[in-house]
């Protein structure tokens, strides 16, 4: 603790059985001298009680003006928990003094009486008083010329050099933005999905849109989804791709070899649907869910992340 003075009161040694449950109070205080008007004094008391006893929060003092020269600014009670049958508390008391002494003078912070309770029994817990020396801020009669005690300007803050940090931050942000743009371009997010080189990204959006949310899309919706994928093949190859052109297509775009079986299924289904007049057969061959999955897979193949 930062306290310079340490007072130990072993009240448990007192013979009163009412105090048998109080193990001890340690008061930690700052230096006891060198205070001037407006200074803040923080006292810390560590309180140890036998386990069943707890401090009654109602007995804590409220922050308030205690005297014409003394304010209690803050009271904080921290429960440190039970260890070896002893419950420990830390009590922080913040005082501020406004006393204006004409010469060094001993002032006293009053003691407190808290209450510990257990099973209907109430035991007082005394926090001892503490005293310190206060000094005047200035001499009573001015010896120098001029208004020696006029308000002085605030100390100018010493600027922390931030230029390098700021530049690094900007550079990092720029790199991050660039990386995000590259990622978006690669994945075909947002406006990049519409660029010409990403027909399957467009199709992957159009297929679920066309199929809608129903589990059993209409033939027109299913046909529309098939068409969306065909347009993507056409756009990729730069000309109409028919089922018979698939070997050439795979030769020209070897990446799509990975999905060859599914692509052939797609073309078979589409043949059935559009030219065989067998929409149900087409849907059995390639159900709508598989169509959505295929569109995603082809998009992945297209951006090279399959």
């Amino acid at each position: 603790m930062r306290g310079l003075a340490r007072l130990v009161l072993l009240l448990a040694l007192l013979t009163s059985p009412a105090h048998a449950q109080l193990r001890g109070i340690d008061l930690y205080a700052p230096r006891p001298f060198g205070y001037v008007i407006g200074d803040v004094v923080t006292l810390t008391a560590e309180i140890a009680l036998d386990a069943p006893f707890v401090l009654d929060p109602a007995s804590l003092p409220a922050p308030r003006a205690l005297d014409y020269w003394l304010d209690l600014r803050g009271v904080t009670l921290t429960d440190e928990g039970v260890a070896d049958g002893v419950r420990r508390y830390t009590l922080d008391l913040v005082y501020q003094t406004f006393y204006a002494p004409l010469e060094p003078r001993r002032m006293s912070l009053p003691g407190l009486t808290l209450t510990a309770v257990a099973e209907g029994r109430r035991v007082p817990v005394e926090v001892p008083p503490w005293s310190f020396l206060m000094s005047p801020l200035r001499e009573i009669v001015a010896t120098g010329a001029g208004p020696a005690m006029a308000l002085r300007p605030d100390i100018a803050p010493a600027p922390i050099p931030t230029g390098t940090t700021l530049r690094r931050l900007l550079a990092a942000l720029a790199v991050a933005l660039l990386a995000f743009l590259v990622l978006a371009w690669q994945m075909g997010w947002g406006p990049f999905g519409r660029r010409a080189a990403r027909p399957f990204a467009r199709a992957a959006r159009a297929v679920p849109t066309s199929l809608g949310t129903t589990a059993d899309p209409s033939p027109a919706a299913y046909g529309g989804a098939l068409r969306a994928l065909h347009r993507a093949f056409d756009a990729t190859a730069g000309k109409g791709v028919f089922a018979e052109d698939l070997p050439d297509f795979f030769r020209a775009y070897p990446a799509f070899h990975a999905a060859e079986a599914e692509v052939r299924r797609l073309f078979n289904a589409s043949r059935r649907a559009f030219f065989g007049g067998d929409m149900d057969g087409a849907r059995r061959e390639l159900p709508p869910e598989a169509l959505v999955a295929l569109s995603r897979r082809l998009r992945a193949v297209e951006r090279g992340s399959a």
Binding site: G223, L226, D234, G240, F242, A243, R271, F274, F275, G276
Partner: protein
């Protein structure tokens, strides 16, 4: 249902026969798989074919092999500038008794059995002959000896070489429209085929070579029935019909599709043609191709495979582009297939 099943079975038998027919011809004509496939399609679509190509690329050999493999009666005639329609129909000569005689000419000699009529160098014949041919192709009949002769099974093959232009007569548009296909015969592309054609003595004697073709693989009398069964059995879906109409519109108005051909004003390029008859021939040929592929539905690939041969000669373009016709029309067709979306 029994009847339909039987038709299906018969059709698949015929398909096996058609593929055998292709193989037989492929034995003696090397490196022309596409041309052979197209001629097979024309045979099963009962359409007439005009072959075009350089001299000596094997047009005649190909047609003779076809005639032998199809079987049935076969006649051929060479187009010359002084050939007149009567020369096809009548054969005038002096009999053994010294009296003039008029007998049926090459066209009538075989009567109704005539299955293949092969007209060599058709562009050397005069327009009068072309018009006789027009009737033969369109109606499968001619008038002679004061009566009408009918040839229900006839299929006309004609060839012309495109190198010479002197002393030739361009076929009238109406006659060209009667041909189902105009097939370009080019030199075989593969080195292996070229080497064989030049160095293998087997290919030096055409008559001996043709003996290798099994004669009469197909029955010419039955071809008409099979062709009808194919046209009924292979279906076209509404989507395909819409696609065909879109192709047709695209060929007639390429500017509306935004087709761009180098050095050509597409707004005025196409002056006419692509007749309804032409498009119906296109669908007919596409159905046969689908059947040869073992399908009972026409798909866009079928249309694309036969489109240049069936449609190119029916597209009439502005005369100022006529000299570059081949390149421009093939660019036009490629452009239409690129722009019209299927399905």
């Amino acid at each position: 249902m029994h009847l339909a099943r039987e038709t299906d079975l018969a059709l698949s038998d015929w398909r096996a026969q058609a593929l055998r027919f292709e193989r037989e011809i492929g034995k003696v004509v090397l490196g022309q798989e596409r041309v052979i496939r197209l001629l097979t399609i024309a045979t099963f679509a009962r359409g007439h074919v005009l072959l075009e190509g350089d001299v000596g690329v094997g047009k005649t050999t190909l047609l003779r092999a076809m005639a032998r493999a199809i079987g049935g009666a076969f006649e051929r005639i060479e187009g010359t500038i002084d050939l007149m329609p009567a020369d096809l129909i009548y054969h005038a000569h002096l009999g053994e008794d010294g009296r003039p005689r008029i007998d049926p000419g090459p066209l009538l000699r075989q009567g109704e059995e005539l299955a293949i009529f092969f007209f060599n160098e058709i562009n050397r014949a005069r327009p009068q002959v072309h018009s006789l041919l027009l009737r033969l192709m369109a109606e499968r009949s001619v008038s002679a000896f004061n009566r009408e002769y009918r040839f229900p099974h006839v299929q006309v093959f004609a060839d012309r070489n495109r190198v010479e232009r002197e002393e030739t007569f361009e076929l009238p548009a109406a006659a060209r429209d009667r041909f189902l296909m105009e097939v370009q015969v080019a030199m075989p592309a593969q080195d292996e085929a070229r080497r064989s054609l030049v160095f293998d003595p087997r290919f030096h004697d055409v008559d001996a070579l043709l003996m290798e073709v099994e004669p009469g693989v197909l029955d010419p009398q039955a071809l008409g029935t099979v062709a009808r069964a194919i046209q009924i059995g292979v279906r076209t879906s509404p989507t395909l019909e819409a696609y065909t109409l879109a192709l047709w519109a695209g060929v007639r108005e390429p500017a509306s599709l935004g087709i761009d051909i180098d050095g050509v004003d597409t707004a005025r390029l196409v002056q006419g043609g692509a007749s309804p008859r032409g498009v119906s021939y296109l669908v007919r040929a596409a159905r046969v191709r689908a059947w040869l592929d073992g399908r009972d539905m026409v798909v866009p690939e079928d249309l694309r495979a036969v489109f240049p041969e069936v449609m190119a000669h029916r597209i009439f373009i502005d005369p100022i582009y006529e000299l570059r016709r081949e390149r421009i029309v093939s660019a036009l067709i490629a452009g239409v297939f690129e722009k019209v979306q299927a399905p």
